[in-house]
Symmetry: C2
Subunit: 315 residues, 2 copies
């Protein structure tokens, strides 16, 4: 299995996956431009297969696992990662098991089953998830796909950067994305840093995370999970593979936002663009809406996903 994060591996991953994933569209809104005072582009990963960017890395991981004769793929997840891996495995005809904490929302579990994954429940703690997953991976001969700290995921996510540069490379001076476990952020920061370092990559976080203190001073966030409506980035710590990349490219581009700002950003996107993005996607836009540095004139916001329950209300 690939062990290196590199531009070449990211190119290979893009070629490997592009026929099965969407080259997602870019949207804009005059009303939002007026409000922000800049030309904002939105990269629509909520319109990606399975409703999030995770499909990119998951498909790359599943294809490589199959090439290496793994008997299947396995991950622990309560949400988007599990759905994406289940979809990817089904797409290429590989068995898939997802270890799910037993308090996970039923809608997510149903999503995984719809893609024919075997769902195995565990206790709702990170250690139970990890132990159950490791034991089953060993027993079944499945390739374990970590949602954040996984080379094949990180290389797979890079396809979004190639798309963005082709679609709008000349129209942007920065990229704003929501940061959680750091896999996606590391992928984008690494590839932009290598292909077009003039574009700044901003990592937008719920303020409790305080990633700047880790990247600048090596101080970890005290909480293990964050208390935020952005449920896709509740994991407070970034993966060990991701940390050095983020340190290199993004030490001075961390943006912390308040919960109220996420809600306002979500409200504005729902109202103005009619796109049902999830709160974690609104987090990235909140970074632009409330904390855009003055010299940023042409930000691109990655709307990372759209998996939000139909009865979800902003309040």
């Amino acid at each position: 299995m690939t062990t290196k994060i590199s531009v070449e591996e990211m190119e290979a991953a893009r070629n490997r996956t592009s026929s099965l994933i969407h080259n997602t569209p870019i949207m804009k809104s005059d009303k939002i431009n007026d409000k922000v005072g800049a030309k904002v582009l939105f990269k629509c990963e909520h319109l990606q297969k399975t409703g999030s960017f995770k499909a990119r890395g998951a498909l790359n991981s599943a294809i490589l696992a199959k090439e290496q004769n793994a008997k299947g793929v396995i991950a622990h997840s309560s949400g988007n990662h599990g759905q994406a891996l289940a979809w990817a495995a089904q797409k290429i005809g590989l068995p898939c098991t997802i270890v799910v904490p037993k308090n996970a929302p039923n809608s997510k579990v149903e999503g995984m089953k719809e893609y024919n994954a075997d769902v195995v429940f565990c206790e709702p703690t990170m250690s139970s998830r990890e132990i159950t997953c490791a034991e089953m991976a060993e027993k079944l001969g499945y390739y374990y796909v970590d949602p954040h700290n996984c080379v094949t995921m990180i290389n797979g996510h890079g396809s979004i950067v190639f798309e963005v540069l082709e679609q709008a490379g000349d129209e942007i001076d920065s990229i704003f994305l929501s940061v959680g476990g750091g896999g996606f952020a590391a992928s984008v920061a690494f590839l932009i840093g290598n292909l077009n370092p003039d574009i700044a990559v901003y990592l937008v976080e719920p303020e409790e995370k305080n990633l700047a203190n880790l990247l600048e001073n090596g101080v970890q966030c005290a909480s293990e999970t964050l208390n935020t409506i952005a449920d896709g980035v509740r994991v407070s710590h970034v993966g060990s593979l991701c940390e050095p990349i983020l340190k290199k490219y993004c030490t001075r581009t961390v943006v912390s936002v308040k919960e109220e700002e996420i809600k306002e950003a979500l409200n504005l996107i729902w109202t103005r663009t009619k796109q049902r993005i999830e709160p974690t996607a609104a987090l990235a836009f909140a970074g632009v809406l409330y904390h855009k540095p003055d010299h940023v004139k042409k930000p691109l916001v990655i709307l990372c996903g759209g998996n939000v329950d139909t009865d979800y209300v902003i309040n």
Copy 2:
């Protein structure tokens, strides 16, 4: 002012308006195709200016009013029509007054004010709306734009048909749309009937409306307003200009749906396409999802609007 509904007037209206309105995209979803068992295309009018197709006819009406030296435009509305006319008038620099029933949702009123319309409140009855509007139109010298029974609105809406035929004319065998006052339905039915009569135009209604009984037997719906979650089509009667057109082209293509079916259709669109359409747009899709005739293989659904409050919940 134009008094004729014709292909030529619709072409002229398209040319008159196309630089200011969106040629809205067409979307599709594999999951929805699987569920319906047909290739379904969605014409995204919720992404139109002001969030509904009404912008098409409203802009045509405002431009023609200005050419005829009207001092402004006026309409009564509690929702999309008022926002669309206010936007159109502002766009071309014409004053606009909207007469609003005093029980209208505040979010809609704010929308109108945002486009600089003068908002005048009246009693929440149709007669109060009409009388107030007529008196003010006379006093101010403004052109009155009826939401449904108005030649300039009907001709203006036709631009959507030219777009659909250019975008997907070879890929569809039918068009499903939600019918309320009948102006939009008449526009689409008339233009398709003249340009490509092989494409069937289906009128989807809440079952209480029973439009087939009007078109086949001349029997009007007993209620004045319908009790439906599809708030854009609560008006039960179709306009006198619209009725003969619908009788000619759509007598056998009325589709009645139940409230539960609208909710399920809305749920499916929100979940699968991540598009925050309004319930009235889901009505048209419910016609396909639950009542598609077997011989229909390639339906296009017009998603008429996306103006739904952020705290709206399907229940």
